[in-house]
Symmetry: C2
Subunit: 243 residues, 2 copies
DNA sequence: ACGTGTATACTTGTATACAAGTTATTATAA
DNA sequence: TTATAATAACTTGTATACAAGTATACACGT
């Protein structure tokens, strides 16, 4: 039980977060990473003991996680749904759906400011690669897409994003940690991909955008593999919990 | 303050609901209907007193409502966002988006069972018209679309629906109550519209589906007008609250 | 051996208490 | 009259207490 006290979610990102948020972020990571297996039944009391807090923050976290579709609240306990291949596919269905929608709006807007902002984020990503900071890279990657989505000022599209984001973030976080160790050269390809996306936004070229999205999606397939490897790394590094 | 104790949400739909759910459903209706004006700052304590319960269920309700984008949780109090013309447009953007996505899946499935189920719901709607039960009609209307969406078994599309549904339901509820009083003949047109939708699903005809969706959308524009009328009816029938 | 009832150890939902922080108000001084 | 400091009345976030319901295990009678 030595390793299990480690946190999967970057603690510095939680500096001003409430206990409820902390539980949500960490619990989410443990579920996405497979550390907590699908089908597991979570009890509020056990979680409260685990996270050394009262049931109030735990309840809040469980409600959040259930609205993100990674657990299911039932009469007795919360059942872990987690992220299997099907869910990953579904998440990217939705991402494709909303990003396509967003692009249709973007082509009717002035995108110079957005393109500038995205370029800045891209620079950040390059720096993160240079200093081998996987977490920072993941953060900027998520921010990149969030910036695009928020630029059209559509509160209900943003609502969808808000529900998707935490899971995406966790997913990408785990994936990038593996890549920084094992597939370092992949990162430059991801950067290229994002450059393509910016070009598409600048040129307002649908074909280019579709192309970029699809390449991004191919990357995702890679991420899926990474995730499994990440799960294996975790599960072999940590002893089994008895129930 | 005589009228303000009335409930906007059908109480019989809350038979087994928790206090938290009751607060959420009723508060949502008061926000959507405009009974609680946009920009109002809600306090947990005041709401708890209003609904005669403790802060726990109120907190739960506020969290739900904020994930539905009709309030915004801030440091001090929850700010009511509500549903203005912009939000209604946005909600229907999303509905169009997901229902189009769903249809693309449907055309690759066996839809006979679904069509049967939808026909049943349509019959229910006709009965509701016959007995002038606006709430039941609204319920079946929402169920109709929910049934279509759930038929493709896509948990993240369902996630979007789950976040959208309560607001949609409330919105349609208010709209139908007005129509049953003032635009009774509209209802048969809505039924026709749904029949068209079923035909599109049976025939797997994209054009027919698009046509039906757009007519449905025209209906929505009507609903928007109804909503304003509903809001006026409420605001003139109820004395102002002093703050 | 097997069904049935009961005791027990869980579970959630809700109320309440308390701490820490923010806003508003009031009193005081210039 | 105005600026400022202190106090009072809020606010949320978290812990805890309690009630009501549910699953489990165990004993008992058949």
């Amino acid at each position: 039980m030595t390793e299990s006290k480690d946190f999967l979610y970057p603690q510095k990102w939680l500096s001003k977060a409430s206990a409820g948020d902390r539980v949500a972020y960490e619990l989410r990571m443990r579920i996405i990473s497979g550390l907590i297996e699908n089908g597991t039944i979570l009890s509020e009391n056990k979680l409260a003991a685990d996270f050394e807090c009262s049931r109030s923050p735990v309840r809040e976290a469980l409600k959040t996680l259930s609205s993100e579709n990674i657990i299911r609240l039932e009469r007795m306990g919360a059942v872990v749904i987690g992220i299997s291949e099907k869910e990953i596919q579904e998440i990217y269905d939705v991402r494709l759906m909303i990003e396509t929608f967003v692009f249709e709006r973007l082509v009717r807007m002035d995108t110079t400011e957005l393109a500038m902002e995205l370029s800045k984020i891209l620079e950040m990503m390059k720096v993160a690669i240079k200093y081998q900071d996987a977490d920072e890279f993941a953060y900027q990657d998520v921010l990149f897409h969030e910036t695009i989505i928020r630029s059209i000022d559509h509160s209900y599209i943003e609502m969808i994003w808000n529900n998707l984001k935490p899971v995406m973030e966790g997913f990408i976080l785990l994936s990038m940690r593996v890549r920084f160790k094992e597939n370092y050269e992949d990162l430059t390809r991801i950067v290229k991909n994002h450059e393509l996306y910016i070009d598409a936004i600048k040129a307002k070229d649908r074909n280019l955008m579709i192309q970029s999205l699809h390449q991004n999606f191919d990357d995702v397939q890679g991420k899926v593999d990474d995730l499994w490897r990440s799960q294996q790394m975790l599960s072999t590094g940590v002893e089994q919990q008895d129930d």
